[in-house]
Symmetry: C2
Subunit: 421 residues, 2 copies
């Protein structure tokens, strides 16, 4: 890890990334997989240097009074590095999307046209102080033939620098340009701003982290952005809901893991299901210490609940809190979702076929479910093998993103002298 410190300008880095992307774009799958295995090995053999650098970030975090939870997210140790190395090996098992023929035909004039998947080129990523994301995004980008420019949180700057050096050393060992994976952390906040304005150098920018981070990138970037993230996720208990299904699905969606974007945040319940279904559902939730933010009608029945305000309908709690609202109809449930949802995931619990089909058709979210826990919105659960993030925008990718979502396409046209008349 004795890389000399050389000052390289921001633009030089992007030019080098572009040049590296041209090498990666046509690299056969076996060479990309070999590079990923070399990276995994290096992560293990360089673990002492990585942990030393990580210790500097952890010391700074303690000095700055960072919370224990955030310190834990920042921490790398032998076991975590082994798991990270294994996750890189796992990516070699995924299908390479590059070169896949999406559609094609022979035109009446004999021209053969085909649309094939190609890498974006240079992918930018802006994320917070989680060093595992550095490895994760770099490995996914490489497998899909992209170069990547990383801007991690400043609190993980030392860790990220050494991780990127480790990746670059492995790439060079395999005869590939190290500049395929670069960090711009040394340019600080200005670097992040410049990255957002680097249209022409960077083909797509993926922010990962808090709603604030994502909103800033969406507002400032001239580079096309894939918006990931925030989930104000709804479940609707229809009048016809099966009692057991309602109890189990709502409990699982809210309690199984609260810190993630596919966790349940607002429960809508049909007035006709109040006594038969809601009572056992809430009893089960309170057995798991869920705090209920309820509208007046529910609050009356549950004196320990908190009175819900308009803020609760917009809240992504990411905790053991749940907003609850009574509605008079499926229409009112759909209207509430349309107004307050971030359009990530919604589920209906129902035994009525027509209502199930209406919910699927009319709710405009990335993932719409019937009788299933919202926790299934996940690239791994969907069988993608890896997850780049969950897109909440409608352009290019929507819902869980796998490797194909890190590619664009181009049209190949093979002629024999055709001209247009």
């Amino acid at each position: 890890m004795s890389t000399p410190v050389v000052s390289v300008s921001f633009e030089d880095k992007l030019v080098a990334a572009r040049a590296a992307s041209r090498v990666l774009a046509t690299l056969p799958t076996d060479r990309k997989d070999a590079a990923l295995r070399a990276i995994a090995e290096r992560i293990v053999t360089d673990s002492a240097a990585i942990i030393d650098a990580n210790a500097l970030d952890l010391q700074a975090a303690r000095d700055n009074g960072v919370s224990a939870a955030l310190q834990d997210r920042l921490r790398l140790d032998e076991a975590r590095l082994s798991a990270l190395a294994q996750s890189v090996i796992d990516i070699t098992g995924l299908v390479d999307p590059v070169g896949e023929s999406v559609r094609g035909r022979t035109l009446p004039n004999g021209l053969k046209i085909s649309q094939v998947r190609v890498p974006f080129g240079v992918v930018g990523a802006i994320y917070e102080a989680r060093p595992n994301v550095t490895i994760d995004i770099a490995a996914l980008a490489l497998k899909s033939g992209n170069a990547v420019v990383l801007r991690g949180g400043s609190a993980a700057e030392n860790s990220n620098r050494v991780l990127v050096e480790t990746i670059q050393a492995a790439l060079r060992d395999m005869g590939l340009p190290g500049e395929a994976v670069q960090t711009i952390d040394e340019f600080g906040r200005d670097g992040a701003k410049q990255l957002m304005k680097s249209r022409g150098y960077v083909d797509v920018l993926i922010p990962r982290g808090s709603a604030d981070l994502i909103n800033t990138v969406v507002a400032e970037s001239t580079v096309p952005v894939i918006e990931t993230g925030a989930g104000v996720v709804h479940a609707f208990i229809d009048e016809s809901a099966d009692l057991d299904l309602a109890v189990e699905i709502v409990h699982n969606a809210k309690v199984q893991r609260t810190s993630v974007c596919n966790t349940l945040e607002t429960l809508l319940v049909h007035r006709g299901a109040l006594d038969r279904v809601l009572v056992p559902v809430l009893d089960r939730l309170r057995g798991s210490d869920v705090a209920l933010h309820a509208d007046p009608e529910v609050a009356e029945r549950y004196p320990n609940s908190i009175a819900a305000t308009d803020e609760d309908w917009r809240a992504e709690y990411l905790s053991l809190d749940l907003a609850i609202k009574v509605v008079d109809s499926l229409d009112e449930a759909i209207e509430h979702i349309d107004r307050y949802s971030t359009h990530h995931t919604e589920t209906i619990i129902t035994s009525d076929l027509a209502n199930a089909e209406r919910f699927l058709a009319e709710v405009d979210s990335a993932v719409v479910m019937v009788n299933a826990s919202t926790r299934f919105t996940d690239g791994g659960e969907f069988g993608f093998g890896a997850e780049v993030g969950i897109s909440t925008q409608k352009l290019h990718a929507r819902g869980p993103m796998g490797l194909p979502e890190l590619t664009s396409t181009k049209w190949l046209v093979r002629g024999t002298g055709q001209i247009r008349t």
Copy 2:
């Protein structure tokens, strides 16, 4: 056409567009097609009012000394309105992309997941003074289940207002919300700016027009943009090029129609093909009055040519001008294209299989061709039936865009009580 003038705020219009989009999203194809036929009929029956309004715009154009060519693009008459009405009828013949299942499977836990095409919701369009675009975009948006908010050039404001009233009247006749198609022309430049900042109301923004217009929208918009347009299009004559193919393809690509984005702008020629191929190619071009902007080596041989500067390699002439450069190799040709192209369309003329495949693989443009005229980059030619534009970005759509490119997707998940463990 006696719609009363009612002042509606910008935000009210977007809210109404969103509400209309919900109606359109689940509308069966036959009702959308009936609405399109009603619009086509109204265009013909209302032609006198449309032509009267158009006369106001034409008068203003004359008063402002607008060029004859631009006046011609602005002009509507009975014949042009009939043709526009027919183009709307033609769109009823296209396959409705909404509801198409893109992929799906049953997960090991029994969840059935499927990804289906859905409309974007509200599509924004910003374009210049071409009233035909008003009809064209509105009809394509409706067929793909989208509401549309239009900002046309101010020079066509009267024409666009009456065209939109015509469309709205037809929609209402068919029991559909007129607000599915609206113009914001009355808000002037401020309206365009507000539209670009209407993230959350507008799902995608499509600029159509000059490079300046497109660059402004790309730089200013927080709404996701599909960039269309500029074509600095290259042809490369390889050393092994067939003489007749080179002569015919280059002539067709440059001369057949010069004002469009898929017309040839820069000709690269391998040094080894200078005497055998370039001489007859240039003779043929000069027979059609093409002005040659040539590098010194070619200029020497063609005393009437203009000395090319760096500006010529970046020029989208859209005229009978052509830049010509000699290169030493396929690599040099690819490097030149990588540096100067807008990545719209490039073609190689070659008899060498390996060079053809390298060109297809290594040139990073929306459409890459072998032995064919660049004029084939066109939604109609590709068999899409209609063309929304030609995307030169890599996100969501690349190359000619048809109706499927006006849709997003969502995931439908059908369960029987599955929870995550």
